[in-house]
Structures are given as C-alpha cells and as structure tokens.
C-alpha cells in the first residue's frame, strides 16, 4: 500500500454521545440479555404457577428501592456529563463519585437480598425461578462491578486538565446507563410481571 492510497479518516460529526463503539456494546449486550429474557419467559409460560409461587417470596419493596437507587445513580452520571460539558470539572467529578456511591448502595442492597433469600432456603439450585433470579441478578452485578472501573476511568479523566476527554466521560456514562437500563428490565421481569 502506498502512502497516497492511505485514506485519512474524515472529520466525524457526532451522532451519539461518547464513542459510537460503546453503542455497539450496548446493542450487543442488549441482544444477549434479550435472549436470556426470552428463555426465562418461555419457561415461565410453561410452569406459570410454580414461577408465581416462587416469585411471591421476593421482597418487592426491596426491588423497588434498588431500582430507585440505580435510577438515581443514572441521574447523577447524567449530571456529571452535563457539568463536564459546561467545564465545571470539580462538580462533574463529585457527581461521578456520587454515582459510584449509589452503585455501592445497590451492591449492598443486592447482597442483603441474596442473604435473605438464602436464609429462606432459596438458593441458586432450589427451583427454576431462583435459578433465573440468581443468574440474572448475578450477571447484572458483574456488569455493575465493571461499572465501578468505568466510573473510575471517568473520575481519572476529570481529575487532570491534561486529560478531560469529554467523549470518554460520555462513553463511561453510556456504560453506566446500560447497567441501569438492564436492571430495569430484570426488575420488571423478576419482581413485577405476574
């Protein structure tokens, strides 16, 4: 390949917040989770009574609190992006820490809920519904743990004037919103759908 043939990438007009590559991840992860949800709903339809009986042992209000906590974390990361756009990096960094804090609260609530279920005799291997419950909530929690690293990257970006890539901050926020978005679907399917 000669130098003349090498094309320089054209100046890109931004169509989505953050890296478009992260939106590919959002789409692909959403497809993977959709496949899990389809499997869950299919087997739920086969044994509806058993699933409803097991579902009734979940603490709905705890799920609601967890959802509110995670939605609030999405609000704070959105605020972080907004403040960063306006050049108020210290406030943006504080909002990123706040997001991580809400994430920690969610993590604690989730562990408390798991411990409670295990004390009730509901474990990963005790029935179909609880297989899905522990699997979906655990794989979501893995995404949340990755989210802490991602928010850490945003904080790192915001901490020094030499970095402060707005695109990267928005990419991190996109990931965090995905964690929130997936939780809302999991909450609806496991706790709410009757």
């Amino acid at each position: 390949m000669t130098v003349a043939e090498v094309s320089t990438p054209p100046c890109r007009t931004r169509q989505v917040p953050g890296q478009p590559d992260m939106w590919f991840f959002v789409l692909f992860e959403s497809l993977i989770f959709t496949s899990y949800f389809c499997v869950y709903l299919y087997y739920r339809a086969q044994h509806e009574a058993a699933y409803l009986a097991a579902q009734s042992q979940l603490t709905l209000w705890l799920g609601v609190v967890e959802t509110i906590v995670l939605l609030t974390s999405s609000w704070s990361i959105a605020r972080c992006v907004e403040q960063s756009r306006n050049g108020r990096y210290d406030v943006a960094r504080r909002d990123a820490f706040l997001t991580a804090g809400f994430g920690v609260i969610f993590l604690i609530l989730k562990v408390v809920e798991w411990v409670r279920q295990i004390h009730l005799g509901n474990t990963f291997s005790s029935g179909d519904f609880f297989q899905y419950y522990f699997f979906l909530t655990a794989i979501h929690l893995v995404h949340l743990l990755i989210g802490f690293v991602v928010v850490g990257v945003a904080i790192h970006q915001l901490s020094s004037p030499r970095r402060r890539s707005q695109e990267l901050v928005e990419t991190c926020a996109t990931y965090w919103h995905t964690v929130d978005f997936l939780w809302v679907l999991i909450f609806a399917l496991l706790y709410v759908v009757r």
């Binding site: 094309s7 499997v39 291997s125 297989q131 990755i146």
Partner: protein
C-alpha cells in the same frame, strides 16, 4: 500472483499464520460438531451405563475426529501468535502481549486438549467399567466447559490493550466485543452445578447462547486480523486506514 511476488512479499509469514488460523478453526468446528458430536455436548445427566453406551455409539467419529485434533491441534498456536503480534503492534506495554501469550498457551490444555485426552481414553478402552467411563465422560465435558477462567482473563487483557491502543490496530468496538465474550465465560460457570435445565454444560443459556456469541466473536477477530495484515506497514506508529471498498480485496493486491 507470481512465485517471485510471493517470495518478496514481507507479509507472507503473517498470511501463513492467518491461513493456519482459519484452517484450525474450520477443522475444530467440523471435528467437534460433525465427526465427534462433542458439540453440542452429550447429556450431563447420563448414568454410568448411558455414558458407556455414548462412547460405543460415537466410537468411530471420536476416533477419527480426535486423531485429527491431536495431529493439527498445535495449529491453535498460530492464532495465539497472530493475536500476540497484533498486541505487539499496538502502542501499549509489551506486558499485555506477554500476558496474553502465556495465558492462552496454558488455555489450550483445558480449552480442548483435556477433553480430547479424556474421551480418547474412553473410546480406546471400551472394556473398562461403566463407572470409570462415566468419570472420563464427565471429566472431559466439565473440563471443557467449566475451566473458562483463563479465557476470561485472556479476553480482558486483549480488551484493555485495544482500548488503550493509540495505533488503531483494532476498532474500539472490538475491544468491547471482547468484554461480551469474557462475560460468556462467567455465564458458563453454573455448568459445574446443574445437570438439567438451561445451565448445565449443554444448556440453552450456558452453552447454546454462549456458543453463538463465541462463533460471532471468532468470525470477527479472524476478519479483523486479516484487516490488520492488509494494513500492516511494519512501522511503529498508527496503522494506516483501509478504505471500505478495499477491505475485502485480495491481500496479494494490497501487499507492498
């Protein structure tokens, strides 16, 4: 392409490694899915007698298929070498490439050699007691499906290298696809616990969905490695971009 142009092509070793990678993954798919029926895996709930019968029923396919893997399995090293090369071409620390090389060299053992040895031991001594045949059957499939930690870390190393790279060796979205692939290694872990349902080693979630993701991931990284070789300029800076219309062009035409 003339013989001279092949001799002078500085990318010939890279193309050789890439061709060997394509051959290996095709052989892997044909042997594991068609010859041996190792994939989709046998039933996890088989009793000792059923496991013994499974070995008898698949005797010829397992024998021929696993023999091919024992002969050509070493070609898996070419894909590891090419990926390590791709990480070396990035603007990241060499620690990434060394870590990837070491972890994936180890991963071939649980990745496919362990199951091949266990199942070959099963078919070559059919007179063994059903309990021992059952043990080999479970050892083979559990080692194959359940020991995914090495792949998890390997995918994360490649992901970090791609996301930190400034040489544009791979697109960033592929870095994120590595994360999707790494997460499937977590999803398969319940196969140690369950024998029925959607989570055992042949379950809908633990195997079928994971294998679709792995298939997409493998197809994508082989295609991107091809793109990397086309764009390779043997420098140390950013790799030149390739216009979309040249992406599928013959590598010979684009070689310098």
């Amino acid at each position: 392409m003339t013989r001279r142009s092949l001799r002078d092509n500085p990318k010939r070793e890279l193309w050789l490694a890439w061709g060997a990678t394509v051959f290996f993954y095709n052989l892997y798919a044909v042997v594991f899915f068609l010859f041996t029926h190792i994939q989709p895996p046998g039933q996890p709930w088989y009793s000792p007698d059923q496991a013994s019968t499974w070995f008898t029923e698949h005797h010829h396919g397992l024998g021929i298929g696993l023999a091919l893997i024992f002969v050509f399995g070493g070609l898996s090293a070419t894909s590891i070498a090419l990926i390590t090369y791709s990480i070396r071409r990035m603007s990241v620390s060499r620690a990434f490439s060394y870590s990837y090389l070491i972890i994936y060299s180890v991963s071939a053992v649980p990745g496919f050699l362990f199951i091949c040895v266990a199942l070959t031991a099963g078919i070559m001594r059919p007179e063994r007691s059903p309990q021992l045949q059952h043990w080999l059957y479970q050892l083979g499939f559990l080692s194959f499906s359940g020991t995914m930690g090495v792949f998890l870390i390997g995918s994360l190393i490649w992901m970090c290298a791609i996301l930190l790279d400034g040489n544009r060796v791979f697109p960033k979205w592929f870095g994120y696809l590595n994360l999707c692939n790494a997460l499937t290694e977590v999803v398969v872990s319940p196969s140690w616990i369950f024998k029925t349902g959607v989570f055992p080693w042949n379950g809908l979630i633990a195997w079928w969905i994971d294998v679709v993701i792995f298939g997409i991931y493998t197809g994508v990284f082989i295609t991107l490695l091809r793109s990397m070789i086309i764009r390779e300029d043997f420098g140390t800076g950013p790799l030149p971009a390739v216009p979309a219309w040249r992406f599928w062009q013959s590598p010979v035409e684009t070689a310098p």
